[in-house]
């Protein structure tokens, strides 16, 4: 476990690109029936008549797919204890069935957390990209990293 990335190891400007999430109509509808049952997320026929011209994923579903890719590719190597939240989330483009999503992350800031001993906060800008490399969602996460014990 010694090759985990701790707060001290994080470098501003570091970028990573990973993930290959195939979006299906079934999953869009399954998520939306439970959490966001607006017609353009759950009903293919009604979605065709909407301003979107077809079924699109709930923006919060795109967020969930984003955190799955973070789980599969970033969390295993990082000494994180979770995130306290995020800023500046933008849903830039509809996500549709057949889209293939990936993630590009960039470290923008490291913040000492005097009242959270043993951890520091890392600001990470993420872009969720589709198969045309167009950003469908961007956000800045506030992630807690453990410090190396001395």
């Amino acid at each position: 476990m010694s090759d985990l990335i701790y707060f001290e190891d994080v470098r501003i400007g570091q970028t990573h690109r990973f993930g290959h999430y195939v979006v299906t109509a079934e999953e869009i509808i399954e998520y939306a029936r439970q959490f966001d049952p607006q017609s353009f997320h759950v009903d293919e026929e009604a979605a065709k008549q909407s301003m979107f011209g077809g079924l699109i994923a709930s923006g919060w579903h795109t967020g969930a797919m984003f955190i799955r890719m973070i789980n599969d590719h970033a969390i295993p190597s990082a000494a994180t204890t979770g995130a306290i939240g995020f800023d500046d989330l933008k849903w830039l483009k509809p996500v549709r069935p057949g889209d293939i999503l990936s993630v590009e992350t960039r470290v923008t800031e490291k913040i000492d957390s005097p009242n959270r001993r043993g951890t520091g906060t890392v600001k990470i800008e993420s872009r969720v990209l589709d198969q045309r490399d167009e950003a469908v969602m961007t956000l800045t996460s506030l992630v807690l990293y453990r410090r190396r014990s001395r």
């Binding site: 998520y31 439970q34 959490f35 966001d36 049952p37 607006q38 301003m51 709930s58 923006g59 919060w60 967020g63 969930a64 797919m65 955190i67 799955r68 789980n71 969390i75 204890t81 979770g82 995130a83 306290i84 939240g85 995020f86 800023d87 500046d88 989330l89 933008k90 849903w91 956000l139």
Partner: protein, 149 residues
């Protein structure tokens, strides 16, 4: 129908409530956020959280469900959201917690080019002890009264 013109800065609304079960916390996290403290009650006991907690993205999903139910109940002429200014997960959400939601309109302004307006709101989810577990400031779009449906 409640259109953009009917939205007033400062107005408050309630968003209903939801009780989290252990089964749904684990089901969501297995699919989207499979960290030990979200999917494994035994492993979660040994973490800094002292037990199973919901994924923050699950709490956001429940917030969305409360919002979608409110849109339907109050017949709000919303057409989606361009984004969220800030979101903070302030307290862990645990099995058995009952969250209630409230929202307040912070500001509203018309789009220059499209037949809708933007509304910025603060949404908070509180647990059964009155502690704020989620605080979010987000945007939504409302159709204007004169716009085509």
């Amino acid at each position: 129908m409640k259109y953009f013109e009917d939205v007033r800065p400062g107005e408050l609304d309630t968003l209903g409530s939801h009780t989290f079960t252990e089964a749904e916390i684990i089901a969501f996290a297995r699919k989207y956020d499979p960290q030990p403290f979200h999917i494994d009650p035994e492993a979660a006991k040994g973490t800094m959280f002292g037990g199973l907690i919901a994924s923050g993205w699950h709490t956001c999903a429940i917030m969305m469900r409360m919002t979608a139910d409110t849109i339907r109940r109050n017949q709000l002429a919303t057409t989606g959201s361009p984004g969220v200014d800030s979101c903070r997960w302030l307290k862990p959400v645990r099995p058995g917690d009952t969250l209630t939601g409230r929202s307040q309109v912070l500001e509203a302004w018309p789009s220059r080019s499209k037949p809708f307006g933007f509304v910025r709101s603060r949404i908070e989810l509180l647990n059964q002890r009155g502690e704020i577990v989620l605080s979010l400031v987000g945007l939504s779009m409302y159709r204007r009264r004169e716009s085509p449906a």
